[in-house]
């Protein structure tokens, strides 16, 4: 096939069009970059502001004994040398991805073997209904049923603020847990017993620069030192690399 093209008609109008095309395309690309870079700068700005309020918190907040004393739900051996602090929201689909993919492997490889303890911190930021779900979950922790409730919520997760964590549905989920006393649960939930507790978790998360879920901080259990941050629903190898590195350091 042969194509004949007339290249002699490069007139003024064409030049304007070509320039417009280039300017518009460049503007779009730079606009995109600006949008994403704004996200970063906004994040860093927030981190800076929140860091000023973090002075009183410090790393001692993340010792395993402190976290348990505060009433945060946990699984694992109390003498585990490493603690993973998980900041999550029950309505966040990336948190559900983590619970489905990476967490079972972390549990099997490190928690069941006594090397790691996992502590849950509430970071309800994905919708208006999240707070209720977190209050209910913390209420189940009173009766030692947090992790069953946690699993139920992530298994039944639906679209954000679609009503799937309405009071009635939270009651239904709670009633599926064998051994959970519903009168005690309802009383705890209705009086919003853990509202302040969850607000404090949010403050703690923000003070550490965590605004998005899921976010993790991996620390030495005894003194909460040497924090390693993992952002997002990362696969198991990401956690493995951090944990193995820490275990190696502890052996030295």
């Amino acid at each position: 096939m042969i194509f004949h093209e007339d290249k002699t008609s490069y007139n003024g109008k064409m030049r304007v069009n070509v320039m417009s095309a280039l300017v518009a395309t460049t503007a779009c690309v730079f606009g995109t970059l600006l949008l994403f870079s704004h996200a970063d700068s906004s994040f860093e700005y927030k981190m800076l502001v929140m860091a000023q309020t973090a002075v009183s918190i410090g790393s001692s907040s993340f010792t395993l004994s402190n976290l348990i004393e505060q009433g945060s739900p946990y699984i694992g051996n109390l003498s585990a040398p490493i603690t993973i602090v998980d900041f999550s929201d029950f309505q966040c689909h990336l948190c559900a991805r983590h619970v489905k993919n990476a967490e079972p492997l972390i549990n099997e490889t490190y928690i069941q073997t006594g090397q790691v303890a996992l502590v849950f911190k509430h970071l309800p930021n994905r919708g208006f209904d999240s707070m209720g779900a977190h209050i209910a979950a913390q209420c189940t922790n009173d009766q030692g049923k947090f992790w069953q409730f946690y699993k139920l919520l992530y298994e039944n997760q639906q679209a954000i603020d679609s009503g799937w964590v309405s009071k009635d549905n939270l009651n239904k989920f709670a009633s599926q847990i064998s051994g959970l006393r519903m009168d005690q649960f309802n009383s705890c939930f209705d009086t919003q017993t853990y509202k302040d507790f969850i607000d404090n978790d949010v403050k703690l998360a923000n003070s550490q620069g965590f605004f998005d879920t899921p976010s993790f901080i991996v620390v030495d259990s005894i003194d909460g030192s040497d924090p390693e941050i993992i952002r997002g629903a990362q696969p198991f190898p990401s956690f493995q690399s951090v944990i193995e590195k820490k275990l190696d350091e502890l052996k030295k």
Partner: protein
């Protein structure tokens, strides 16, 4: 058998346009996957594709490839002086492609919306998250339309030799 459209054959017979397409598609593909939390650079470099992300990933890959192709074909049109580009076609071509592609990843910048607009941002972010897949399908549709437009522009501007048709 699926035949490759004439415009695609014409444009991508030149390596430069393949390079332009790749130079656009690859960064966008990486960017979209970073925002979809499928590629991570810390603590290790890793890519993974969980079951729940397959549909979004396929659509995002299509969007990146289409974006690369459309921008490259637009550059072809611009650099071939016989072809005139009106502002209308420009909008329906490259610009719209980029805008639609970027909008597809809006759900991933929910944090930005929340931190900037408070509760209104939460609503916007939630809507974008809930309708992420339909939005991406719309983006693919717009990009296919843009590809069709640029295909028509390229083929209609070419005069096929009668000798080549007969042979």
């Amino acid at each position: 058998m699926i035949s490759i459209p004439l415009s695609v054959k014409v444009v991508f017979s030149t390596p430069t346009y393949i390079l332009i397409a790749a130079a656009v598609a690859i960064p966008f593909w990486i960017l979209f996957n970073v925002f979809d939390q499928l590629i991570f650079f810390e603590p290790i470099w890793i890519f993974y594709l969980p079951d729940d992300a397959v549909t979004g990933f396929v659509l995002m890959t299509m969007i990146s490839i289409l974006l690369g192709m459309i921008i490259s074909m637009n550059v072809y049109v611009i650099t071939h002086s016989k072809l005139k580009i009106s502002r209308k076609s420009l909008f329906s071509g490259s610009s719209l492609s980029i805008i639609s592609g970027v909008c597809s990843s809006c759900s991933s910048v929910g944090f930005l919306l929340i931190s900037t607009f408070g509760s209104v941002g939460i609503v916007a972010s939630n809507l974008l998250t809930i309708y992420q897949i339909p939005l991406r399908i719309i983006s693919v549709a717009i990009l296919i339309f843009a590809l069709y437009s640029i295909h028509k522009r390229i083929t209609q501007s070419c005069v096929m030799s009668s000798n080549s048709i007969n042979s």
